[in-house]
């Protein structure tokens, strides 16, 4: 399976003092899939993601992301991944177009490539009329679409989306998932954390994190069958019953 996996993690652990935020997790993410990373608040999703994106070092364990080692090659990983933070993290005092061009440039793209890609992406999201508007004046759903767009501007191998649909209405959430499908179709692997259980159904495979451990990992239909549940939400309830960490 080597060449097919864009992420391979073995026994990854992160401790903060005596608190074990991520407890010995192992999993793979297959190229071209949408991998759902589910768990309650505080289960360790964001901590795990930060180790994969090179924002923090693990306490122990091994990990390869896009073919690079998370211990020694984090700067190479950063070239090949996109990241959309839970908290909106673009420059809200700049315009839509400035944000796209600046982040494109930061990823080392040529000037004309950045321009071309910016126009292409803005067109795809229907941002052309708002391109000179300041980001802070955009509605929440648009901001999130823009953040997503910026995270894939450099055509990364994997895009990490940390609760990308938080605070967005159901219609906008559906649109956002259409966008994710679009991007995955173009060959980018998506690694998505969420706590909306209905969204989990959109993923190819999902992992369920409870108390820092991955308690289940499979396709949504296989998980439902295994736990005899009608929905992923129900599967989650069964698993979360054993949780010791409260929110």
């Amino acid at each position: 399976m080597q060449g097919y996996n864009v992420i391979e993690v073995e026994h990854l652990t992160k401790k903060f003092g005596s608190f074990t935020a991520v407890d010995d997790i192992s999993f793979e993410v297959i190229r071209g899939e949408i991998f759902g990373f589910l768990g309650a608040n505080g289960a360790g999703k964001t901590t795990a993601m930060k180790m994969l994106t090179g924002l923090s070092f693990p306490t122990s364990g091994k990990g390869m992301v896009a073919g690079y080692d998370i211990w020694t090659q984090s700067e190479l990983i950063k070239k090949n991944i996109g990241y959309m933070s839970q908290k909106f993290a673009l420059y809200s005092d700049l315009t839509v177009r400035d944000n796209i061009e600046i982040f494109g440039g930061i990823y080392g793209m040529e000037r004309h490539d950045v321009r071309r890609r910016a126009v292409e992406l803005m067109d795809r999201l229907g941002f052309m009329t708002e391109k000179n508007e300041r980001v802070k004046d955009l509605p929440q759903g648009w901001k999130q679409k823009l953040a997503f767009l910026v995270s894939i501007i450099h055509n990364p191998e994997i895009v990490f989306l940390d609760e990308p649909t938080g605070g967005v209405d159901p219609a906008a959430r559906r649109q956002f998932w259409e966008l994710i499908y679009d991007v995955v179709d173009s060959g980018i692997t998506a690694f998505v954390t969420t706590h909306y259980m209905d969204e989990a159904e959109y993923c190819n495979r999902i992992s369920m994190m409870v108390d820092g451990r991955i308690d289940a990992l499979d396709s949504p239909s296989a998980l439902k069958k295994r736990f005899g549940a009608v929905s992923i939400g129900e599967v989650f309830d069964i698993l979360a019953r054993g949780a010791k960490r409260s929110e």
């Binding site: 005092d93 700049l94 600046i102 982040f103 990823y107």
Partner: protein, 368 residues
């Protein structure tokens, strides 16, 4: 095109879209340079003087008249006794009391020594000592005149006539203006840089930068270069006001001033970034910055001379880069000194600028 260029473009666009910063950039040097040196100075005027004249003679009247003609003193009335005058001082209605003893005219006529008593309120020590100094110099001038009139030259065998070089009129403004130029650089170069990084932390944009392949030295340098550039603009404004309004740096010395200013700006920006590495919120960073900046400003001879500090504290000033910059500014602006006269100061300033930026880069963590 390198990431660095885009980071600079980003800073420029952010600065442009900000309504507050460009105004501060211009207003700060203008207000500090135009008003502060004119208003906040150590010159003492309108010292309130109470005279206790026990002599009531022609000579004492001439002395009082001489004093009242000077700009420095304003009469707060006369009293019959010293103790009544002290009561006035106690109530804060007068600053200095001068007591003229009875029989002054007669005794000076005979060529005898007469003691005139001066009591100054030193709650405000500058006002007290400088006011007392002015008064005694007027009195001694007067006594020299008396001696000359009566032909007894022996009363004043030695006379000191000081000439104050480089600031002939002992104008405090000329001392103050270079100090204000430093304050301008500290505020623009230091505070702006810190605030911009900590704002990126608070809004989370720094995370988006940290997951990108931007090298941390590029990120830090983009801040140092951009805020250094703003600092140069502010310094230029301050210098123009200093030159045309206060007649500072009549001998030129622009290269000396700008090399000093650039080195100091690089230091300040690096220092600001170091502070921001250790603060998570804007409030934290501003307080930390203020703490160090106050030490920089008050301990390094910007406002008060280093030579009048305790010996151990004088050694301390060696570790404050502001000391070297203020030396350069004063020497160039007032004396017209050149590079070769100030080599040590430039070298020290450069050492500080390089060291602090290395520390700032090392302590900036993209990954924790």
């Amino acid at each position: 095109m390198s990431a660095f260029r885009y980071l600079i473009i980003k800073e420029m666009k952010q600065f442009n879209s900000n309504r507050f910063m460009p105004v501060v950039l211009v207003l700060l040097p203008v207000v500090l340079m135009l008003f502060v040196p004119l208003l906040a100075n150590m010159e003492i005027r309108n010292v309130r003087l109470t005279i206790v004249d026990h002599d009531r003679s022609g000579t004492s009247a001439r002395l009082v008249d001489r004093i009242s003609r000077s700009d420095y003193f304003r009469s707060a009335g006369t009293c019959d006794t010293y103790s009544r005058a002290m009561d006035m001082m106690g109530m804060g209605r007068t600053d200095i009391i001068m007591e003229i003893p009875a029989g002054m005219e007669k005794r000076t006529g005979r060529g005898e020594q007469v003691e005139i008593f001066i009591a100054a309120n030193a709650v405000n020590s500058t006002k007290g000592s400088i006011g007392g100094g002015y008064l005694s110099s007027i009195v001694s001038d007067f006594s020299a005149e008396l001696a000359a009139d009566s032909g007894t030259m022996s009363a004043m065998p030695l006379k000191v006539t000081p000439r104050f070089r480089y600031n002939p009129h002992l104008d405090y403004k000329l001392f103050m203006v270079p100090a204000m130029m430093i304050v301008v650089i500290i505020l623009i170069g230091g505070f702006f840089a810190t605030m911009s990084i900590v704002t990126e932390k608070e809004t989370g944009t720094i995370e988006q930068i940290n997951v990108s392949p931007v090298r941390k030295r590029d990120f830090i340098f983009s801040k140092v270069v951009f805020y250094g550039f703003l600092g140069i603009i502010a310094f230029t404004l301050a210098f123009l006001i200093g030159h045309f309004v206060y007649g500072l740096a009549p001998h030129g010395g622009l290269p000396e001033l700008y090399v000093g200013a650039i080195l100091f700006l690089i230091f300040m920006a690096g220092f600001g970034l170091l502070i921001s590495n250790y603060s998570d919120t804007l409030l934290q960073s501003v307080f930390l910055m203020l703490f160090f900046v106050l030490i920089f400003m008050l301990m390094s001879g910007i406002f008060t001379p280093v030579s009048s500090m305790e010996t151990w504290a004088q050694y301390l000033t060696w570790f404050l880069p502001t000391t070297y910059f203020v030396n350069i500014l004063r020497a160039v602006c007032l004396k017209g000194s050149q590079f070769q006269d100030l080599t040590f100061n430039y070298v020290m300033l450069a050492v500080f600028a390089i060291l602090i930026n290395i520390v700032a880069i090392v302590t900036y963590k993209k990954q924790r």
